[in-house]
Amino acid sequence: MRRLLPHPILACFLLVLWLVLQQSAGFGHILLGSIIAIAVSAAATAVIPDQVIVKRPYKLLVLFAVAGLDVIRSNLAVMSVLFHPRPKPTAGFIEMELTLTNSFALAILACILTATPGSAWLEYDRERSTVLIHVFDVVDEDAWVATVKRRYETLLLEIFE
Amino acid sequence: MSVAILEWSLLAAQVMLGLGMLATAYRMIAGPRAQDRILALDALYVVALLLLITLGIRNNSQVYFELAMLMGLLGFVGTVALAKFLMRGEVIE
């Protein structure tokens, strides 16, 4: 089973992807999609050797909901700055220490921070476990860091570690 | 009525997206540095993708979907390559 399906999560994801692409959940599509998903996920072991273990999958939904809300908020915030006649963001670099070490979790965090307007993940230092972030409009640096840690890092720690 | 609303709002949206594209074009030309241009190209891909989605609504057609999807999925390959070239001087090491 391990050999046949080295990446079950990936395989499931690919099957869902296939069905959404086909816009159909007919038996034929599920069958063909399963074959493709299993074959492709097996082939993917070449470049994705480590299996991803999600300990609390339902928390992922929470994470996405939180991220979604933040995205909306920051979109509006950034737009208000941009539509200001003379946009003067108080931008700055923030270096933040992370307790998170799982690279998959880090990637998700990077993704969320970068995808959210107003913050951008610049570089991660593995030795010091710090990440350099550029923030569009910093009001209070410590508060910002605290928010990120509270809203995302703890969730990610729960999910992956 | 609802058709008119949709038509006009789609036209407005498309014009806005078009203007957004021009903005990215400005940055692509003005630079000043390569990263600015690459950033603009990446943004351009996203805007083009959205323009296609609006075109799909306008034409009531789904044939543009895959094009938009591939722009979203693979548009970044070019910009990643550019970014990597910028950083490393070569795309594949």
């Binding site: 950034v78 946009p87 990077a110 610049l122 | 609802s2 407005a12 903005a23 690459i38 943004a43 034409n59």
Partner: protein, 119 residues
């Protein structure tokens, strides 16, 4: 040709589309108006996040109604864009960061233990 929807739906779709386009355009204008690269990096994400999301959502609603079945494959585009945009931005930002450091730009934070110029 564009399809005839119930009025409230067409208003909803129109609003999503226009708002999404507006956000996206705002992000692009950010590319023009903002003064430094690190600031400009935030502009395009408006298009990839909420701007794009709204337009895709509009599309999903529109086609769900016109095709009379659930159309959610716009989700895939949103997923792909969300996964890929950070990659480009991170690489670009990193590259810029290093260049600025090497060129001695003072307002860029440096990492002493790794990139300190050695005599």
């Amino acid at each position: 040709m564009i399809a005839d929807l119930p009025l409230w739906l067409s208003i909803l779709v129109s609003a999503f589309v226009v708002l999404g386009a507006l956000l996206t355009m705002a992000g692009c204008f950010g590319l023009v108006r903002l003064k430094s690269f690190y600031l400009r990096i935030h502009g395009p994400t408006m298009g990839t996040s909420m701007g794009g999301g709204l337009i895709l959502l509009a599309s999903a609603i529109y086609f769900t109604v016109t095709r009379e079945r659930l159309v959610v494959h716009e989700l895939i585009i949103f997923l792909f864009v969300s996964l890929t945009t950070p990659v480009t931005l991170m690489l670009l930002a990193r590259a810029t960061l290093f260049r600025d450091r090497v060129e001695g730009q003072i307002d860029v934070p440096r990492r002493p233990e790794k990139l300190a110029p050695k005599d």
